[in-house]
């Protein structure tokens, strides 16, 4: 317990990087994911095929491999990018694939008759989407969206492996000095738990608030 208090400041610093990277990644991943989902549902086939290939790769390759690819390959290509920014970018691109699945599923879950009803009222294109489809899709997307957010928070722990000072990395450093893995990693896990559990409580609230009774 003392270990955690003595290193409270360090842990807080790690947690703030974890939170910042999570928030940024969630924002970018959600935006990209929504765009991919709309492409998958509406775009012409060449664009759709391109997105499909992208999603296939992202779903089949570990995040760690992509992070290392970035970490090794970018300097090689002469690109000088700060590792935190690079990390956010890779995490966003990786989880955008999962976000796209969330949004695509939600859009397709809006019953066909709702689309038809909108069309019967003379709506089409973006009017149909913004007035009829998306408001309903958002409700179904809530719980899986939160789940993906939790995966992103947990996923940021991987940046510790490429040397960023996030919560996990701070934990490892403290353990090297103090040789108290149980309390340190226990404490680190607890901080992650609070972040993620808070997210899942929000998710549950949304589900109750907006969930349809089937």
């Amino acid at each position: 317990m003392d270990v955690l208090i003595n290193n409270g400041w360090l842990l807080l610093r790690g947690a703030s990087l974890t939170l910042w990277m999570s928030a940024a990644s969630i924002g970018i991943a959600a935006t990209l994911g929504l765009a991919f989902a709309l492409v998958q549902v509406f775009a012409a086939w060449p664009l759709r095929a391109l997105v499909e290939v992208y999603l296939f790769v992202m779903r089949g390759v570990p995040l760690l491999v992509l992070l290392f690819g970035m970490y090794y390959a970018l300097p090689y290509a002469g690109m000088d990018i700060d590792p935190a920014t690079g990390g956010i970018l890779v995490i966003s691109l990786y989880f955008a694939a999962f976000m796209s699945e969330v949004f695509r599923g939600a859009i397709l879950a809006v019953p066909r008759v709702q689309w038809d009803a909108g069309r019967a009222l003379g709506m089409h294109g973006s009017a149909l989407m913004t007035n009829v489809v998306l408001p309903q899709a958002v409700r179904t997307a809530g719980p899986p969206f939160i789940n993906t957010c939790i995966m992103i928070v947990k996923g940021t722990s991987l940046v510790s492996i490429i040397g960023l000072w996030d919560l996990t990395q701070i934990g490892r450093q403290i353990v090297e000095r103090t040789l108290a893995p149980f309390s340190v990693f226990g404490g680190v896990a607890l901080i992650y738990f609070f972040i993620c559990f808070a997210l899942s409580l929000v998710g549950r609230h949304l589900e109750r608030r907006f969930g349809y009774v089937h």
């Binding site: 570990p62 290392f68 090689y76 934990g171 896990a189 993620c196």
Partner: protein, 217 residues
């Protein structure tokens, strides 16, 4: 620009790593399936505290990074004087985390089997336990093969994390080769292909399984 010869020369090392990755994936997946089943039985048990304890474990596992769990087990076991290998520590963490997710998947599947099915079993004279294992569970498992397959893919990808515990699986071998040859593009491209091949083969196998066990509807 891509040096095919270099990849070819190092293929044996990749295959060494592949063996470890496959072994860890298979063991962890089997354990996770079992852990998930035990957890869901505990969650549905009509014994006091057991469902709450199982639910707490599931929440704990699902809301903490598997990497931190691995460190906790690996470094923790070392201080305890019972050092586990990186492989074993990784196996335990992967089984626990994915077991927790599978528990929730099973639970959704069980909930989706109509109450009438269990009733039909009871009416034939089955005990609750028999109706669950003979009638409800087999139907639930068939329904949740697709989400189980997704979870399996996540597990396979997470095996790459044990490279940080010096387990000589695919990721670890690739990093060694990259450090030695500086052929960064070649190595990571090949590595990605290996993972794509494993996850695709696994997904395909699960599709076949789903097709063969499908409940004709």
């Amino acid at each position: 620009m891509i040096d095919v010869n270099l990849i070819e020369r190092n293929l044996p090392l990749f295959f060494e790593g592949l063996k470890v990755t496959l072994l860890l994936s298979a063991l962890a997946f089997a354990c996770a399936l079992l852990v998930g089943l035990v957890l869901v039985l505990a969650r549905l048990a009509k014994v006091r505290l057991l469902p709450a304890a199982a639910a707490a474990f599931v929440e704990l596992m699902r809301n903490t990074p598997v990497l931190v769990q691995m460190y906790f087990i690996f470094f923790g076991s070392a201080v305890m004087g019972w050092p586990l290998t990186g492989f074993t520590a990784g196996l335990i963490a992967l089984a626990a985390q994915n077991g927790a997710y599978l528990c929730e998947i099973y639970r959704a599947g069980i909930g989706s089997v109509s109450r009438r099915q269990a009733e039909a079993g009871l009416a034939l004279g089955m005990l609750q336990r028999q109706a669950f294992f003979i009638v409800v569970l087999p139907q639930a498992l068939r329904k949740v093969i697709p989400p189980i397959a997704n979870q399996g893919v996540m597990l396979i990808k997470d095996t790459a994390l044990v490279s940080t515990l010096s387990v000589m699986e695919l990721m670890y071998q690739a990093r060694l080769i990259a450090d030695r040859t500086a052929a960064v593009y070649e190595v990571f491209f090949t590595l990605a292909l290996f993972y794509l091949a494993i996850t695709s083969a696994f997904t395909l196998a699960m599709r076949v399984l789903e097709w063969r066990l499908r409940v004709a509807e």
